[in-house]
Symmetry: C2
Subunit: 232 residues, 2 copies
């Protein structure tokens, strides 16, 4: 596994002219600030305002919001996949599993945009989805190792991690800067609920396709570019 | 306790003319559908479209979004407070406590708007806040009874119910109709985590004021009426 092999969703192209490259970096930096503060539903117009460029400039560089999201969160997705690799290296699989959940939830708490990224799928952002899938495969190994030690309840399903991230995003988004550590308490409760022996049965996990559809529907409105010619 | 003593946030006024009353009911019914589908952040303009009236008509009847929200969810807040009363009547306090969490979370799942109402405070909607406070006082009794039986962990704090509702809203909003029962699994995990003996310590609860500030900041944008003369 080479975590940084595919860092960008851009095809290898001729080098951008330096002013174009500066524009691109400025847009990404502005989008990072706007998404971190307002989440993925922030509009392309507000990113344009923050960057001090016209909205047409943004759509020339990033024809879809998915592409912008992928560019902004490429390094976060790398860090997320790296956290799985770190957890797999832990000699205590349960400790690694718990540490991974805490790390990934802390990444959500640090960035409202990333909180949404972890519960959303972006089918056209191939490099980002590749990293997510790589992380997912690592998590499946992590889960089966933690179960093998007898510390993780046997009915834990990989999809439960997605549900935990959705729950954590709910707390993070609802408490925000007013109660910035509240999520830690909820995540601690959820982790304790995962410890074997289970204290009860659980309702079934959502079907794989259903959860995928849910992650698709979280894609922010306005993911596609507006009709050409609109905006400045 | 008389659960239905104060059902509306309207001051006692002269009876509305019947066409005005019909308009009011039509707006409330439309807002109920829009909020149920899109959550509280749905715009007053989309409520106006759904109701087939001009936005000025809505703001004449409901000068702030808070007043519209209070009118739409008055019956839900009644049902919510009633659920606490039912739980307090349960001869098994732990069973009553668990049943209450399941009922309240199911109410969130059934209505995206109400999912937000439970984690938001509306300072000017006095009757609604009175009902919430009444429910809160009942929950404090419910919690202390459940602790007295030794089934509920001793470090459970009433504010944890708010955090559970925020987490549940996160799952409900993220999964939606694609995986409409996924929240049940997360809520079951959280309930199992609450059973004594606790499997570990917890990070501290957010301060009361911090959580109140968080619930304030969830109030949807556009809670106040626009400047007079705007809209149709």
């Amino acid at each position: 596994m080479n975590p940084r092999a595919q860092r960008s969703d851009e095809p290898a192209a001729q080098p951008l002219r330096s002013d174009a490259e500066r524009n691109r970096e400025r847009i990404i930096a502005a989008a990072r600030r706007v998404f971190a503060h307002d989440g993925l539903h922030a509009s392309m117009a507000s990113v344009a305002r923050e960057a001090g460029v016209g909205i047409a400039t943004i759509f020339r560089r990033f024809p879809t919001k998915e592409e912008l999201v992928a560019a902004v969160f490429a390094d976060r997705m790398d860090a997320y996949a790296d956290a799985v690799a770190v957890a797999l290296d832990d000699p205590d699989p349960w400790h690694g599993f718990v540490g991974y959940i805490e790390t990934a939830c802390a990444m959500q708490a640090a960035d409202y945009g990333f909180a949404d990224v972890l519960t959303t799928t972006f089918p056209t952002a191939k490099a980002m989805e590749d990293r997510r899938n790589e992380a997912y495969e690592g998590m499946v190994r992590l889960i089966s190792r933690a179960k093998a030690t007898g510390r993780l309840r046997a009915d834990f399903d990989p999809s439960d991690l997605v549900l935990i991230h959705m729950a954590n995003a709910g707390v993070v988004n609802a408490t925000g800067e007013a109660a910035p550590d509240a999520w830690r308490r909820v995540v601690a409760l959820m982790i304790q609920s995962l410890e074997a022996p289970a204290r009860g049965t659980l309702p079934p996990s959502p079907a794989h396709d259903a959860l995928y559809q849910a992650m698709l529907r979280n894609a922010p409105a306005g993911v596609a570019a507006p009709a050409p010619g609109k905006g400045g």
